[in-house]
């Protein structure tokens, strides 16, 4: 029997339709075909969402979750949903908000574990952040001297908010080569009512919208070596795509580590990402970041009360971090649809996979075996790429320069609109869908964008159908 199986395997390997390792074909000759398991974006951790429940697409537990982690996951969600309040005289769980903050809960920005509501014209209650920095002597970023790294647009009682943040939108008309018109919009940041005087000369600002949280644990489980294998900082292969790692401080180890979270890959772990969000977004201290984000001259902020030291004890930071690690990735929809398959081919032919890397194997994670050894399809390389002047914020972030952004994962892209209804893409939410996001691509991605623009209208639609299936 064993020999029969061997013969069968050899016949299969020899069959002309079987793609042999290394036998790469030019993208244009790739025939529309499904690949085994391609709908399983997160391997065994994938979940198939009930079509009636797509509004909750991103909040499901890993499909292979060990039952023992169901209760810890729910504990983590409690912290995630908790509405933090100002420090109280009688210390209680959930007090410690502020003194300065942008939001009073994780879920305020990550609505239903998704991307949050988009900024609106002149809107006051918009979960966008404005990052600040001034250039240092060596070109690296330093915090704005009065306001720090981030503008907080809320303050607790007795502490004035730092500013009012308004985003205006400028419409930009364009046309595809075939004459089809399109409209883009560019944000114009309007910072009003600065509490402590004007921003320092040369201050760089950058609008940020919150990312969706599905699959974060799996991204964390990608081995460094697999990401670094895709890096080509000097574009040695001459394909016009570089891909650089961002090495950033790791507060747990005190050393440097590969950044993989955040729009510029400026955080190395989910724990640190969450601790930073606690500190900067909600004004809540943790053992990892034990001080409030007050500027050195913001006396009311510096002298305000606190809700414990730290305000988010280790177990609370741990709970919410576990929660974010255990969120599943929904399976693809319509992956066998001929139009979607056609779109997948066009996506490859345009060269998008050079950055939106489709496939990784996750490393062994002893503490969370569910995340281990999974074949995942996040469509990101987690590396930094020059995205051109239109998207540039001119604001370096550790080793990321002002033109560079981390490749955004595309898994779950088609479900964003189901979760938040008005999904917005790119770091500042300017793109009202995948098509606009593509049209904003520049720099290393300009050639891919032009290939997309030069497609026929039907092919562009197929391309977008593929993205919608992710």
């Amino acid at each position: 029997m064993k020999s029969l199986r061997t013969i069968a395997l050899l016949l299969l390997l020899g069959a002309p339709w079987f793609p042999r390792p290394g036998a790469s074909e030019p993208a244009s000759s790739v025939s529309p075909a499904t690949e085994p398991g391609e709908e399983l974006l997160a391997g065994e951790a994938t979940v198939f969402i009930n079509p009636e429940n797509l509004h909750n697409s991103f909040g499901h537990a890993l499909g292979n979750l060990d039952p023992s982690r169901w209760h810890p996951l729910r504990d983590g969600k409690r912290v995630f949903l908790m509405n933090w309040v100002e420090p109280q005289a009688d210390a209680r769980a959930g007090d410690g908000l502020g003194p300065l903050f942008n939001a009073n809960s994780c879920s305020f920005c990550h609505f239903k574990d998704g991307r949050g509501h988009p900024p609106e014209e002149g809107g006051a209650e918009i979960p966008v952040l404005v990052r600040l920095s001034v250039p240092g002597e060596d070109g690296a970023s330093l915090p704005e001297p009065r306001y720090g790294w981030q503008l907080q647009d809320h303050g607790v009682k007795g502490v004035q908010r730092e500013a009012k943040i308004i985003v205006h939108w400028e419409q930009i008309e364009g046309r595809y080569p075939d004459g089809e018109p399109y409209t883009l919009r560019r944000p114009r940041l309007d910072i009003q009512d600065l509490a402590d005087g004007p921003l320092a000369p040369g201050t760089r600002t950058s609008i940020r919208t919150p990312p969706a949280l599905h699959g974060m644990g799996l991204l964390e489980a990608i081995p460094d070596v697999a990401i670094l294998a895709l890096a080509d900082p000097a574009d040695a292969n001459g394909d016009g795509i570089s891909g650089r790692p961002n090495y950033v401080p790791d507060l747990r180890t005190g050393g440097k580590a590969l950044g993989r979270f955040g729009w510029k890959a400026n955080q190395p772990t989910l724990e640190q990402q969450n601790a930073m969000a606690f500190q900067e977004d909600m004004g809540i201290t943790s053992d990892l970041l034990p001080t409030h984000a007050c500027g050195p001259r913001q006396e009311p902020c510096l002298t305000a009360g606190h809700g414990g030291q730290p305000e988010a004890p280790l177990y609370e930071l741990g709970r919410v971090t576990l929660y974010t690690r255990l969120l599943a990735v929904p399976a693809r929809r319509d992956w066998q649809d001929p139009t979607v398959l056609r779109g997948k081919t066009l996506f490859r032919q345009a060269g998008c996979e050079s950055c939106h890397h489709p496939r990784f194997e996750t490393a062994a994670k002893a503490a969370l075996p569910e995340l281990s050894g999974q074949t995942i399809r996040p469509y990101t390389d987690l590396l930094l790429h020059d995205m051109g002047p239109e998207l540039a914020d001119g604001r370096p972030d550790f080793e990321a320069d002002g033109n560079e952004w981390r490749t955004a994962p595309l898994w779950g892209l088609g479900l964003l609109k189901n979760v938040t209804k008005d999904a917005r893409l790119l770091h500042d939410g300017r793109a009202r869908g995948a098509e606009e996001a593509i049209l904003w691509h520049g720099g290393e991605a300009e050639a891919a964008r032009e290939r997309f623009k030069n497609l026929s209208k039907a092919d562009r639609a197929a391309f977008l159908r593929f993205l919608d299936s992710l």
Binding site: G43, T46, F48, N50, L62, N64, L65, K112, P330
Partner: protein, 273 residues
């Protein structure tokens, strides 16, 4: 006294209780400290029996009940069906503005079908000969449990989402040995619905699964999917949650009651947060 006769004696009293009272100027009203708003063609009015909802012309008419941060809710009811004997009542729970589960009562002459649909589950992945594929594309099962006077009488599990959990044959609604079926010519048309006097919804603290409840004013016979007949005065439809792939609901924000019944009178209401 035979139950049939008791039913006829109680009928006028029940009708009086349900007589329309003052129609509220606004479509929203507070009852038992809880905000209620009519939707669609429905109207709210206060009566001596409670808060009455009328104007159910289509399945999108009814009442929204605001229950932010709730973990359980219970509503005493007086229900009236329609003359055609085909009324329905849907109780939908909402979390973060989206439907999270639903219980449906569908009358078809002398028969009531009871079903539920939950959203906490998701399909997983299975391996077949090394190839991984979807275990199910929708997922979701629930259990139907029957209680009598607080004592579990039995139940059936693994009922697919949306499938019927049980039915009640109105001809035997109280007495399974009563051979006389409901007579739409002689029995009041609203009568079959009058039995259902309480409904509720909540989250199971241990599992995070959701449950709907439905109670009757006296024990009745429930016909279960496995062919058993269970006699009881309360049913619980409980979402089965295993953890893997599930959605962790921690609370809900509101209830929407819709249907094609003649009226729903809310006689009491409690919420736990």
């Amino acid at each position: 006294m035979e139950w049939k006769n008791i039913k006829r004696l109680l009928a006028p009293a029940a009708l009086m209780l349900a007589l329309p009272g003052t129609v509220l100027a606004a479509d929203c009203a507070e009852f038992e400290g809880i905000q209620h708003c009519a939707i669609g063609n429905a109207r709210l009015s206060t009566t001596s029996a409670g808060l009455e909802v009328t104007g159910f012309r289509s399945s999108s008419d009814g009442v929204n009940i605001a229950l932010p941060g709730a973990t359980s809710w219970q509503m005493g009811t007086a229900l009236k069906g329609n003359a055609a004997g085909n009324a329905s009542l849907s109780v939908t729970a909402f979390a973060s503005g989206s439907p999270n589960s639903n219980m449906m009562l569908q009358q078809n002459g002398q028969r009531f079908d009871i079903s539920a649909r939950f959203t906490g589950a998701a399909g997983g992945v299975k391996s077949v000969n090394g190839a991984k594929t979807a275990a199910t594309t929708t997922g979701g099962t629930y259990s139907a449990l029957v209680y009598n006077n607080g004592v579990l009488q039995g139940g059936v599990g693994n009922i697919p989402n949306g499938a019927r959990a049980m039915y009640v044959n109105h001809g035997n609604i109280n007495n399974p040995w009563d051979p006389e079926p409901w007579d739409p010519w002689n029995d009041p048309w609203w009568w079959p619905w009058w039995w259902w006097n309480d409904t509720g919804f909540g989250l199971v603290a241990q599992t995070g699964g959701c449950f709907h409840t439905l109670s009757s004013s006296a024990p009745i016979v429930f016909n279960m999917p496995d062919g058993r007949q269970l006699r009881g005065d309360r049913v619980e439809l409980v979402e089965e949650v295993t953890g893997s792939g599930a959605y962790p609901y921690l609370s809900f924000d509101g209830i929407r009651v819709t249907g094609t019944v003649e009226s729903v009178t809310i006689t009491s209401e409690t919420v736990r947060r």
